[in-house]
């Protein structure tokens, strides 16, 4: 995907989105941030004004604490392979576009090799080189009203209720 693409648009072209049946079984789903549209396999945090409701706010807080990890991971990846901070590929043709993607793929494969060989501790080694602030700059998300009109909120409401019930000892 090119940089002008919104996260949720780019996401629609991923395997998980196109072949949700293959990727998820039963009730399985993925967590996402508010840029994504909600449905039964993608559960994002709430957008305003829904996020102001106490039940939803609690839900968002817990999900956000889980999601911090993904930002750490991006930081670790870009800190280790800093070529991803300014890819030196001249894109003049479709072939060059693949070449640029190759750099990213190789970095990801090597990142996973590090985890398999040495575990997550060393994978995070470069995490603070490319910290939260830098990642904030790079993240492809932004708030946009009206993304994904056909929201299917049922699964998320269920999750909100479950958490609420647990926290209040019901």
């Amino acid at each position: 995907m090119t940089g002008s693409a919104h996260d949720s648009n780019a996401f629609e072209h991923t395997t998980a989105a196109k072949h949700a049946d293959w990727f998820f079984q039963g009730e399985e789903f993925a967590w996402a941030d508010s840029a994504y549209a909600v449905n039964s396999t993608t559960i994002p945090v709430h957008k305003k004004p829904a996020s102001l409701e106490p039940k939803n706010a609690l839900f968002d807080k817990v999900v956000a604490s889980l999601r911090v990890r993904s930002e750490h991971c991006m930081g670790a990846l870009k800190g280790r392979f800093q070529c991803l901070r300014g890819l030196r590929v001249h894109i003049n043709s479709n072939k060059d576009h693949y070449e640029a993607c190759r750099w990213i793929s190789v970095a990801i494969v090597l990142h996973n090799v590090v985890i398999d060989v040495e575990g997550s501790k060393s994978a995070e080694y470069f995490g603070n080189v490319h910290g939260t602030e830098e990642e904030e700059e790079d993240t492809g998300n932004y708030q946009e009203d009206g993304v994904g009109g056909d929201d299917d909120d049922a699964k998320r409401r269920k999750l909100v209720e479950e958490l609420w019930a647990f926290e209040n000892g019901l």
Binding site: M1, T2, S4, A5, D7, A10, F11, H13, T14, T15, A16, K18, G26, E28, F29, A30, W31, A32, V62, L66, R69, S70, E71, C73, M74, K78, R80, Q82, C83, L84, R85, G86, R88, V89, I91, C101, R102, W103, I104, V106, I108, V109, L110, H111, V113, V114, I115, V117, S120, S122, E124, Y125, F126, D138, N141, K158, L159, E162, L163, F166
Partner: protein, 264 residues
């Protein structure tokens, strides 16, 4: 922007021009002289066409320090320096080397041996750890002590070899692995519910390009006023595989509206 003229074309053009001018100011006196001139001129053009290198090719002085890495690897006290240089620990380096060493891109039929794979891998990793002008092929070549052309070849070969293991390291979790993720979620929350079914996270990031592109520049333009690729990553979350990044990298070609999905 007009592409600049190759040196060879330029030389031949100027030669033709000078020949024409010469003929105007001192035309050949008889047919014999005319044929002789023509023959000479044609020979010269042929020479220009056939000479492979038109410029002087002085040997480029090279003094790389990539071999320092092997020194660093000897002593655990210097492993830190190895990691700073090649971005992975000596152990990971050896693992990757072991994986790719026998790949066919590093084999050829001639008797001229290839540069040792560990050198090629070291140069590739060194380059991957850098950005900005420090990541230019010229700078990498100088630091590594190889020619610019070699650096590009090394990177290309190593990428091909590493990517042949893409499916091994970037893949869907097995049911058992999913269960680990789900159990982690239970422990984290303190209750067991539909929440445990969320074993994966999506996130997007922009991989910035260092300059504007020649093709479809606008498609790559991001809201942060730079040019980049949108990378969609799926993460797993447990302690064990904390930030174990299984990525379905979705690349998108604007012109053909074709989406390429890297999957196992």
């Amino acid at each position: 922007m007009m592409p600049s003229k190759p040196l060879r074309r330029d030389l031949i053009d100027s030669f033709l021009l000078s020949m024409a001018t010469w003929d105007i100011f001192s035309p050949p006196e008889n047919l014999e002289e005319y044929t002789l001139n023509l023959q000479k001129d044609l020979e010269l053009i042929a020479l220009l066409e056939e000479t492979r290198y038109l410029n002087n090719r002085p040997p480029v002085p090279k003094l790389g320090n990539i071999d320092l890495a092997w020194e660093f690897a000897q002593d655990p006290a210097h492993h830190q320096r190895f990691v700073d240089m090649l971005r992975v620990s000596p152990l990971v380096f050896l693992t990757v080397l072991d994986l790719i060493e026998d790949h066919h891109v590093f084999k050829n039929d001639t008797n001229l041996g290839q540069t040792p794979v560990e050198q090629q891998l070291a140069v590739t990793l060194y380059q991957m750890g850098r950005y900005g002008n420090g990541a230019s092929v010229e700078d990498i070549a100088r630091a590594a002590g190889y020619s610019e052309g070699s650096v590009e070849k090394f990177t290309d070969c190593c990428f091909e070899a590493i990517l042949s293991f893409h499916g091994l390291f970037v893949r869907k979790l097995t049911d058992d692995e999913k269960e680990v993720e789900k159990n982690w979620m239970d422990d984290c929350l303190g209750f067991r519910g539909t929440w445990r079914e969320g074993w994966v996270m999506y996130d997007g990031t922009i991989v910035v390009l260092y300059r504007k592109l020649g093709q479809n520049g606008d498609a790559y333009y991001t809201r942060k006023a730079n040019y980049g690729l949108n990378l969609q990553v799926h993460f797993f979350i447990t302690e064990k595989s904390l930030s174990n990044l299984s990525c379905r990298l979705a690349t998108y070609l604007r012109t053909s509206a074709l989406s390429i999905i890297h999957m196992e």
